[in-house]
């Protein structure tokens, strides 16, 4: 028992180290002074006002949201189709295709970034909306395929057979039986896809143009160039947004799981 209490103290310290550092940005985002000093001084909303009044910050945010939603839509459709198709394949090439589709998760971001930069340079996609969407989709797809694939694995095959034997065609079976059953995996995939796109920095840094910068690129530039606490306010807003999105996704998928058991 003595071991357990020693380990518990250690675990609390470890968790504090994992979670607390990020919170220093909160007071800085409300500080009165234009510095990154902690503890901060005074209290004001000026950095949040700054963010909403600065056209370049707002534009980057809107751009990132638009790209993120487009990426989510494309990768959820393409990824769910792929996961469904893969689950039905019964030959040796299947794992080969599966691994091929999952490779983007294993390659260092910077290697892909210089490759995409070179390709986009040649085909005029640098700094374009389509360029961002396509690059982010390639990164998000494996996560959708993986999440949907996992929920398809847990699916009872007989339900689809039952629907087919009652006369439903493939498309009806998919939309009425399969899709509702794998919804948690699809939702999780969608959240991962959105967050992947919304957070993506390295590839975006290479394929951006001064006129079209996603929010992470703008944050990165701001951190490397000045000590404007507006970036702390942005960081706090981004964090709240991702915690809310993931919280919603977790409660949705959690409820689904409970309902089934």
């Amino acid at each position: 028992m003595r071991l357990k209490s020693v380990l518990s103290v250690f675990a609390v310290i470890l968790v504090a180290w994992l979670i607390l550092p990020t919170l220093v940005l909160v007071p800085i985002s409300f500080s009165e002074k234009a510095s990154f000093n902690f503890p901060s001084q005074g209290f004001s909303f000026q950095w949040y006002e700054n963010f909403f009044n600065d056209r370049s910050w707002v534009r980057s945010t809107v751009l990132s949201l638009q790209i993120g939603l487009t990426v989510t839509a494309i990768s959820v459709v393409a990824g769910t189709l792929a996961a469904f198709g893969l689950s039905k394949l019964r030959f040796r090439g299947r794992s080969l295709i599966e691994n091929y589709l999952l490779t983007p998760m294993m390659v260092p971001g910077v290697v892909l970034a210089i490759g995409l930069y070179s390709v986009f340079l040649q085909y005029g996609l640098l700094g374009t909306f389509a360029g961002f969407v396509l690059a982010h989709t390639a990164l998000a797809l494996p996560l959708v395929i993986l999440n949907v694939g996992t929920s398809i694995q847990g699916l009872d095959n007989r339900l689809e057979l039952a629907a087919a034997s009652l006369g439903a065609n493939r498309v009806t079976t998919f939309f009425k039986v399969t899709l509702p059953l794998i919804a948690p995996g699809v939702i999780a995939g969608a959240v991962f896809a959105f967050v992947t796109s919304f957070d993506e920095v390295i590839v975006s840094l290479f394929i951006q143009s001064p006129g079209l910068q996603t929010l992470p690129v703008k944050i990165y530039r701001s951190v490397t160039q000045d000590t404007d606490p507006t970036v702390a306010a942005v960081a706090v807003l981004v964090t709240v947004l991702s915690v809310v999105i993931i919280g919603i996704a977790q409660s949705l998928t959690g409820r689904k799981r409970k309902a089934r058991s």
């Binding site: 380990l7 968790v15 994992l18 902690f38 393409a78 469904f84 039905k88 294993m106 290697v111 095959n157």
Partner: protein
């Protein structure tokens, strides 16, 4: 037409009946397979064009720019700049892996001996950092580690004096270890939880001291988790770009920063891509090892963003 359609329909139902036991055979089976293969086409196309193709371009450029040959690789393996950067990257990645392993092991062990409820909370707490963007967390470390930051203020107030943290390998290691911790805890936990809990008490009842029982019985059994966690963290650390570029020293660039510098800074495409191919090869080698040694999958959501 109608008759054949009906026939195939009957065939299909027969096939469906047998589908659970083996692979569907016959023409209908193949048509089925190709139809399902077709479903993977959009994903296949997107990944081929915007992932595999750019990587192939990187490889091609590395042996053709400025002219055909292996001069860029010769440069990588002889240039003090590249070798120094490779060494820095290797040392930092290895230290980060060790830090993560030493901190994650007790945590993962505690997870195996607490109640289900507490374990759920412990899992969640370790995953929470993954919900926060890497850029946000790095920004927080910039604030904490800077010369006028709270950590240095604390050191000075207790008389340790000023310690250079930002723009040092130590600062990079602190930031990277925090980000990579979940990738060590989870494989470790899944490995530790599979160890028969009565083995250690059994060893003790046979006369082994607690520490001996741990090192002779428990630790060797947890090797698969140690390997898969360590190699995962190590590969991810090799490819980190954001943290080293914000917390590290520009004089001592890690590999990804050097690649960026060669390509965007010096427009040395051949050298930059050759460095990239070497980084890719190192990551793939480590990945091969992890699947070979542990026979486990390798899943790292959002790994590219680091």
């Amino acid at each position: 037409m109608n008759v054949t359609a009906n026939q195939t329909e009957t065939e299909r139902i027969q096939l469906v009946g047998k589908a659970g036991s083996g692979s569907p055979r016959g023409r209908e089976g193949w048509r089925d397979a190709s139809r399902h293969l077709f479903l993977t086409a959009p994903a296949f196309l997107l990944i081929t064009l915007f992932f595999i193709f750019p990587i192939i371009v990187v490889i091609v450029v590395s042996v053709t720019d400025p002219e055909f040959g292996f001069q860029n690789y010769a440069w990588v393996f002889t240039s003090p700049l590249a070798l120094n950067s490779a060494l820095t990257t290797f040392v930092i990645s290895l230290s980060v892996t060790l830090i993560c392993l030493l901190l994650a092991y007790p945590y993962a062990y505690l997870m195996t001996i607490v109640s289900d409820r507490t374990r759920g909370i412990m899992t969640m707490l370790v995953m929470v950092p993954l919900w926060t963007s890497i850029l946000v967390r790095t920004l927080a470390w910039v604030v904490l580690l800077q010369d006028s930051g709270p950590i240095n203020a604390f050191f000075e107030s207790v008389g340790i004096g000023h310690v250079q943290l930002i723009r040092t390998p130590l600062g990079v290691a602190i930031g990277m270890a925090q980000v990579l911790m979940p990738f060590m805890v989870m494989p470790l936990y899944s490995s530790l939880s599979r160890i028969e809990p009565r083995l250690v008490p059994a060893a003790q009842s046979l006369g082994a001291k607690p520490l001996v029982a741990f090192f002779k019985v428990f630790l060797p059994l947890s090797k698969p988790g140690i390997f898969s966690g360590s190699i995962t963290v190590f590969i991810l650390a090799l490819g980190f770009y954001i943290i080293p570029s914000l917390l590290g020293s520009p004089k001592d660039p890690m590999f990804p920063s050097l690649i960026q510098l060669q390509v965007s800074g010096f427009l040395q495409w051949g050298r930059g891509t050759a460095l990239g191919v070497c980084l890719l090869a190192a990551a793939l080698l480590a990945l091969f090892l992890v699947t070979k040694l542990t026979k486990s999958g390798f899943t790292i959501p959002g790994a590219q963003n680091r």
